[in-house]
């Protein structure tokens, strides 16, 4: 149980560390757009697009 003498202060320090990390994240704009990165991952393709054959196009 003596471990608690170490763990409790350690947990307080950990919370402060997390707080600092979150502060950095907010200030650098990571929370400004919560939808975009999700969509971007799905939409950006790593594979190069297949070339569309230049078929018949009629534009008046």
């Amino acid at each position: 149980m003596e471990a608690l003498y170490l763990l409790i202060p350690l947990s307080v320090a950990a919370v402060f560390a997390i707080g600092w990390v979150l502060w950095r994240a907010v200030e650098s704009g990571q929370f400004d757009d919560l939808e975009g990165p999700g969509h971007r991952i799905l939409m950006d393709d790593d594979a190069p697009p297949a070339e569309e054959p230049a078929g018949p196009r009629t534009i008046v």
Binding site: G36, I59, V60
Partner: protein, 835 residues
């Protein structure tokens, strides 16, 4: 003399694939004329604009846009040479300095507001397109706000290039006004988010420590550990009180300095007292600590304030998006009439006495007198009708009207605030300012409630003093905490935010917080005619043949005479010809008589297209007797050649497909429809009966429309006004709630600014959907308020009776708030009423 009737859809076999345009989803009247190839198959499009855009997207390797989008894209306007010039103006130093910011390394950056984003795929398309422009250093789109941040190397590319690239894939964008509050909103949002996160961290960890203390049997937990945990809780709660809660203290101090008891006063007292007592107990080693209550209290309060802020920011963003693009540049003559040189000058710098050139298709920037040129002007700003009025030298032109036919030289005499446009805007602003203020009402209620809370806490303290010990303190704190107006404060904003979200998915931007509540209370709806119930453009309804030539031949001739004109009649003929795949003949010696018609020579023969009298002069004979009967409200354009009548084109502003259904639905929802228009009686009556509206008023000036609304309001009715034109602006502001239809028509910027809600598409059914959504929102708000009040009525006596511990009070308050939020959240997803 034969007559044949051609109605709008063409007699061609339509395949399933050609039924709707691949890009914009609208009905494809052009069959298989326009094609693009995508994913190995041929796709069919409705016009050259959509085809060009589709091909550009595919060629750029951005075909994923079509795979991932959630709906049809907006119909892109065809790019004409005038657009290149207009976009090119953004490169002029005078204008670019206003929007672009120069960075340290010499590159330039700006924020763009993207229009026409209907889903995430559009935002992705915009981001990739901007990024692909050579010379662009950074391109990032915020999917939530629809704004793009662009940085570019000014040696390699320019702002106009970026805007043009976007235009080529069918997206419109304009630079954001750096003066508008976007930067301040971003800063505030970040600040509030940080406060919320700190409170969240503190609260969670302190609860972790508090739990063993509550769960332990007396004597089970060693006092040393308990002390350690109390100290730890102190260190974790101190930042919450000092940093996250500082706005409460600041507000309470400000209120008290003004001798008022605001909502934050009981909150600040509760936090300060609870924390102070806990600190003292921690130092002395005896007594109760309330760190967990304080943490939870602050966190939940900040969460509710954050939601409120989001709602307000949403409204502000909508307003900013609707603000018209930066003022255009005008060609001003440096020394008329000695020289015809012009310079480009921003509209704001024009002065009375300036002589300017107004091109065909351009908007007249201010009031003035014509010095040179014959043309016809679209004065829908005053009359609501887009049929142009002929003007010649010596006559006045009004700022805001659109020059349809040929260039004019105008000397300005009233600019700025004196100009008619500005006056109408002033009228509208004044009307908007007299709306009842719901905000002050809730302020006074909140003040009374807070004073009551403080009084009850004091009473509780006094009640429990005789019991001795800590009891009086504990119970007073419990009362303060449990009556926290959290649920009350959350009841309305959460519902409004969720409803606003749902409306924006329907394509309706809400720019005023009170709009949704007002929409739910509406008893009558007033429609404008042109541009609202009908499309803003004329369409060819019928070609009545008066001679021996076929309809296509007549159309080709008519088009030859109208080539290059921006007149609505010309546009409707051109659209019809494109649908039928008719190419114009070649015409020589084209001359326009404003207000009468056009005369030209085609294949050696003289033709005239215009009024019956005008065309009759060249036909030389009276009109054929068997010409079929006219429909009401149609515009008739006659085509004749030397010695013979050829055809009569019947043009009409077509009714929107969704109009009749919308009126029906609104009536079923208990809203009485009216029609008030500036157009002539027979046209108005025709539309009213087609749509099913009994109460219709014609030939109404803007002031008449506003009076009609006020008369209804005097009867105690709540009026919803739906319109599109500038002349509707005073009415839009006078009505209890207004919706502006803004599907691309350029002249309605003022209307958009003064309407509470702007509809970005042309499906009138959305109005009925919005009304249903508003009713639901009001129901949810009432449920929330009822719950909040009931909860307080039950919880306060319990707290006063000493049954509730402070932590239980905080828990109860948080659960009630959660309930309110959850109830509102289901508003955002219910789609039962959407058509």
């Amino acid at each position: 003399m034969t007559t044949s009737t051609l109605d709008a859809p063409i007699a061609r076999p339509t395949f399933d694939e050609t039924a709707h345009c691949f890009h914009c989803g609208e009905p494809n009247l052009a069959g298989d004329t326009f094609r693009a190839r995508f994913d190995g198959r041929t796709r069919y499009l409705c016009c050259a604009g959509c085809a060009a855009v589709a091909q550009t997207i595919v060629d750029a390797g951005l075909g994923d846009f079509y795979r991932r989008r959630e709906g049809a894209a907006p119909r892109p306007a065809e790019i004409v040479p005038g657009d290149v010039r207009a976009l090119g103006r953004y490169n002029l130093p005078a204008l670019e300095r206003q929007v672009a910011h120069r960075r340290l390394d010499g590159s330039k950056e700006t924020d763009l507001i993207l229009e026409g984003l209907t889903c995430a795929a559009c935002a992705w398309l915009a981001e990739r397109t901007i990024g692909n422009v050579p010379g662009v250093i950074e391109a990032g789109v915020n999917y939530t706000t629809g704004r793009a941040h662009v940085a570019w190397d000014s040696r390699k590319t320019s702002l106009a290039d970026v805007l043009f690239a976007l235009r080529r894939v069918g997206l419109d964008a304009h630079p954001a006004d750096p003066q508008a509050g976007a930067a301040a909103r971003k800063r505030e949002r970040r600040k509030r988010l940080l406060e919320l996160l700190v409170a969240c961290l503190g609260m969670m960890q302190v609860m972790m420590f508090a739990l063993p203390i509550y769960l332990a049997e007396p004597g089970e937990l060693a006092p040393d550990f308990e002390h350690l945990m109390r100290w730890a809780s102190l260190f974790l709660t101190a930042p919450v009180v000092a940093y996250s809660a500082r706005s409460f203290f600041a507000n309470a101090w400000r209120d008290l300095a003004r001798r008022r008891v605001g909502m934050d006063v009981p909150i600040a007292i509760a936090i300060a007292v609870a924390f102070g007592a806990s600190v003292r107990a921690t130092f002395s080693g005896t007594g109760e600590v309330y760190y967990d209550s304080v943490g939870m209290f602050v966190f939940l309060l900040l969460a509710s304030r954050y939601l409120e802020f989001t709602a307000r920011a949403q409204a502000a963003e909508a307003v900013e998006r609707l603000a018209p693009p930066l003022p255009a540049l005008v060609d001003r003559f440096t020394n008329f009439p000695d020289t015809l040189r012009t310079e480009a000058v921003p509209v704001g710098l024009l002065a009375a006495g300036d002589v300017i050139a107004v091109q065909a298709g351009a908007t007249v920037p201010a009031d003035g007198v014509i010095l040179r040129g014959l043309s016809a002007l679209d004065e829908s700003l005053l009359t609501g009708e887009s049929r142009p009025v002929a003007r010649k030298p010596g006559e006045r032109v009004v700022g805001g009207s659109i020059n349809s036919i040929s260039p004019l030289v105008v000397r300005l005499d009233q600019v700025g605030e004196q100009a008619t446009l500005a006056q109408i805007s002033r009228l509208a602003r004044r009307a908007a300012g007299t709306r009842p203020r719901l905000a002050t009402l809730s302020d006074t209620i909140a003040g009374g409630f807070s004073a009551l809370v403080l009084a009850l806490a004091a009473v509780t303290a006094i009640m429990w003093l005789p019991a001795g010990g800590d009891a009086w303190f504990r119970h007073a704190i419990a009362v303060l905490v449990v009556t926290c107006p959290c649920a009350l404060a959350l009841a309305v904003p959460t519902a409004l935010t969720a409803a606003g979200h749902r409306l924006s998915r329907l394509g309706l931007l809400v720019s005023r917080g009170t709009a949704i509540e007002a929409l739910a209370a509406v008893t009558d709806v007033v429609f404008d005619k042109t541009g609202t119930l009908t499309e803003p453009r004329l369409a060819v309804k019928r070609i009545a043949l008066l001679g021996t030539q076929s309809a296509e031949q007549c159309l080709a001739c008519a088009l030859a005479l109208e080539t290059g004109s921006a007149h609505p009649i010309a546009q409707s003929l051109a659209a019809h010809a494109a649908a039928l795949d008719v190419t114009p003949a070649a015409a020589d010696e084209v001359s326009t008589m404003s207000g009468l018609g056009v005369e030209a020579v085609v294949a050696g023969v003289g033709y005239r297209l215009g009024t019956a009298v005008f065309a009759g002069a060249i036909a030389g004979k009276p009109l054929p007797v068997e010409a079929p009967a006219h429909g009401a409200g149609e515009t008739h354009v006659y085509l004749a050649r030397k010695g013979a009548w050829l055809a009569r084109f019947d043009l009409i502003a077509p009714l929107r497909a969704s109009a009749a259904e919308t009126v029906e639905r609104l009536r079923a929802q208990g809203v009485e429809p009216h029609l008030v228009s500036g157009d002539l009686s027979d046209a108005v009556a025709a539309v009213a009966s087609a749509v099913g509206i009994e109460r219709a008023v014609a030939q109404a000036a803007p002031a008449d429309k506003a009076d009609y609304v006020k008369r209804l309001q005097a009867q105690g009715r709540k009026v919803l006004m739906i319109g599109d034109g500038i002349n509707d602006a005073p009415v839009l502001a006078a009505a209890d709630v207004s919706i502006a239809v803004a599907d691309g028509r350029s002249g309605s910027d003022l209307a958009r600014a003064h309407a509470a809600i702007v509809m970005l598409n042309s499906n009138l059914n959305r109005v009925a959907d919005a009304h249903a959504a508003a009713l639901e929102a009001r129901r949810v708000m009432r449920q929330n308020l009822a719950w909040a009040i009931a909860y307080n009525l039950v919880a306060v006596p319990l707290a006063m009776a000493g049954v509730l511990a402070p932590w239980a009070a905080a828990l109860g308050m948080s659960l009630s708030s959660l309930l309110v939020v959850a109830n509102a959240a289901r508003l955002a997803w219910r789609s039962r009423f959407e058509s």
